[in-house]
Symmetry: C2
Subunit: 477 residues, 2 copies
């Protein structure tokens, strides 16, 4: 079995098969961005990709890229955004482990980053898609992809849609990667496919000097004169790593990843002396919309209590159920707001009264009744002082009721890892003591992301492409 | 500054100052246990301790040791415990990241481990102290030190008191360490004090070969023929490491640690190729008892809702407030159950009605009223179907009310880290790929503990001493 953590000593490499200034490991969104930018900075670049073609998990994704601060698309769609508002939203939503310095740079440079993506050929249609979701079924270019419009964020930062989606109906991630790879192919970068990176080569001084590769069973090497950039995905598909670091995530039905998300990039970085952080954290999605009208319902826990504003983004809903409610919750609707969600959810209770719902869901007697009574009393006045759901989704609930299953172990949840190598703002891999591993860089899900936890869709492609570029520039120096 | 992560290469050690079969780094509970057992197995042992005397954080602690399965003390106090019941409780309470194999061994060997402690001279008085707490003010030998008597654990495993406390009024941790060190001094082990371990020495084969020490500014070395055991504490007093790995813990007023808890042991292990896990986790204590009568009250969140059974152990209460309630909670009492807790807590609201409490605590109108109404309706029948508080603490609450501050940022919380090096059941330090770092062992808070999260008092001294012994035995092989 491959042991990416066990680095190869440079003195044990008899002869390098190949060499370059910068070697990029993995051709997803972060890798393509890193390679493009390293090339622009004058570096001779080699990209190694384990698949027969690039794209990775980025290509399989919905293609939403978190951008803002006043992009042309935002302006044309009527959103008044600034870097400061974007910064405030991300600081508030990205959880206790957020990285302020990175969030600042990501927000301030976001408009420029948008223009860079467009310059690579990525098209965005200046039309807002109002039914927020990770993947609009249309070719519209802008969606809400977080909790910007929901309490408490709407009071902290002026809400703006920031999910930018390449112009194609359906899987925009594929188009994004097609364009980035096409742009890369116009450069002098060499793309070596079917090349699995086995491990890093480290010199006597501790600096990363190159990579060991396997190409159809045959070992080969590439020397990196300036640096190696690890953009090889996360570890959601490495069962052992998930069991050790993030066992909660394995409970989700849908693990979002491709073959590359086996943790090898993170293990290689650790083997060279890098620190991995936020390893227990992941994006945990509980999609209940579309249709948006189900947000008129109440989400309750096993005590019959509400615990979150139901108009929160599904990344927030999933985290709340998983971590705060032991993984158990139901969305209770009445006739006004009942509609089958697009992601199927089983109806696990129907009742002509609150008592029938309590009985069907085995809730404590009177608990759901008390919740509805208090909720309705405030909803009649258009208020939700407990969780501050937006007025537009507030109306008293009347029997009959139906409850949709939102439990982690029995209904649809999606997850991927957010932990990875700790990096500086320029992608340099850091040691446990806050130093730098010379010659080693990381971006995308091989690195610890902006959000941990507190995920809004598009942050992964957003931070992957942006910090991938920064890593490329720094490595090319 | 010292850089424990940067290991010394064996070829750079010109001459070893000293040598031994087994070198133990740190003379707390885990270190003393490791040294004693390595010596018993025939090894020539050196213990290096940074302080002028041993003891470490163990000596400062309340001295509660989690033991069970039917110890003589448990039997004499009338508790019918078995290894299986202890195993079931720990599996249920130690959280999602628990280590089943270790919990099994810890439970099955617990009676034998008790006898070993007694054989080292540690005295336990066979008297049960009924007011459970980490530190009985008496010299009684047994306390409840977890949530054994509380839902859901009481239905999962037959409740038994398992907090074993050395016989001395007050700080029993001091007595524990006095006895263990005295026992160690009767062996041939050499104890070198005022010796700060700077880093590990690693051979060409990756095996740990010894340690680099500083003794009043002068560097010295000890070669370890068989192995080095890291028992150097956790990292709660390393501000940078806490900020990176476990920022929530820094919010607690009282950080439980001594100088040694600076993370150096963990960093050394990582530098030699070890994996640190559960690094975001810690024990988070919210002491509300004694007196126990305050458990008649209700703990509420910022929505005026209950969220936990109030008779849970304070390690559980603290975690629930920190992670599930954004760090905000209050304990509301009525005249029947009002008494000042031993750990002072500010009275932040008093009121003649639920509405006055809502107003004073800025809770949503009607929210606390609804909580009390539902609580009282069930409490009248001796029931708590929401959170299953024990019948003995259930009675309807009547105005006037008083609310005690239990918020993380404004009231007393205590914390220490539970993350550390991943080890096998015999203390061998593991790599990120599940292999072993040859010659390196860890125990106590330098290693990842049994509980993560889900802490019951006594687990730290319990797993430190037990797995310290196993590491000593294995290293001496």
């Amino acid at each position: 079995m491959s042991k990416p953590f066990e680095v190869r000593r440079a003195r044990d490499v008899a002869r390098w098969s190949n060499e370059a200034d910068v070697v990029v490991v993995g051709l997803g969104c972060a890798g393509a961005s890193a390679a493009l930018e390293a090339g622009s900075a004058g570096a001779d670049v080699v990209v190694v990709e384990r698949g027969s073609a690039g794209g990775g998990t980025s290509a399989m994704s919905g293609g939403v890229i978190y951008l803002g601060g006043g992009t042309p698309i935002q302006k044309q769609c009527g959103f008044d955004d600034t870097p400061e508002e974007m910064f405030k939203y991300l600081m508030a939503s990205c959880g206790q482990h957020r990285d302020e310095v990175k969030i600042r740079a990501f927000s301030e440079d976001s408009v420029a980053h948008y223009h860079w993506l467009v310059a690579q050929g990525v098209p965005f249609k200046p039309v807002f898609y109002p039914h927020y979701s990770g993947e609009p079924p249309t070719d519209d270019g802008l969606v809400f992809s977080g909790s910007e419009n929901a309490y408490p964020y709407k009071d902290i930062a002026r809400p703006a849609a920031r999910g930018h989606v390449p112009q194609i109906p359906g899987k925009a991630g594929g188009l994004l990667m097609e364009k980035l790879i096409a742009s890369l192919e116009r450069t002098s970068a060499r793309i070596l496919t079917d090349m699995r990176c086995e491990t890093l080569v480290v010199g006597e001084d501790g600096a990363v000097a190159g990579v060991v590769l396997k190409h159809f069973g045959e070992e080969t090497t590439v020397r990196a004169r300036k640096g190696v950039i690890l953009t090889a995905g996360g570890f959601i598909l490495n069962r052992d790593m998930v069991a050790v670091h993030a066992p909660d995530l394995a409970r989700c039905q849908f693990l979002v990843g491709s073959d590359g998300d086996d943790g090898a990039g993170i293990l290689m970085g650790m083997g060279a002396g890098g620190l991995a952080i936020n390893m227990s954290m992941g994006s945990i999605s509980l999609p209940i919309i579309p249709p948006k009208k189900v947000q008129f319902g109440v989400m309750i826990n096993a005590q019959g209590q509400r615990f979150v504003n139901e108009d929160s983004y599904y990344g927030r809903l999933g985290e709340y159920v998983m971590y705060r409610q032991e993984g158990r919750a139901w969305l209770v609707l009445d006739e006004k707001c009942f509609e089958r969600p697009e992601v199927p959810r089983e109806i696990v209770a129907v009742g002509e009264s609150t008592a029938e719902i309590e009985s069907a869901l085995k809730l404590p007697a009177g608990s759901f009744a008390a919740t509805v009574e208090l909720y309705n009393r405030h909803a009649e006045r258009g208020e939700d002082p407990l969780f501050h759901k937006s007025r537009e989704w507030l109306a008293p609930l009347e029997p009959p009721f139906a409850a949709l299953d939102c439990c982690v172990d029995t209904s649809f949840y999606a997850s991927f890892t957010l932990g990875g190598l700790r990096t500086t703002i320029d992608g340099e891999v850091m040691t446990p003591e806050g130093g730098i591993v010379p010659g080693l860089y990381a971006a995308g899900r091989t690195s610890a992301g902006l959000a941990a936890p507190g995920y809004s869709s598009g942050i992964s492609l957003g931070d992957g492409s942006y910090f991938g570029r920064r890593a490329g520039r720094r490595a090319a120096r």
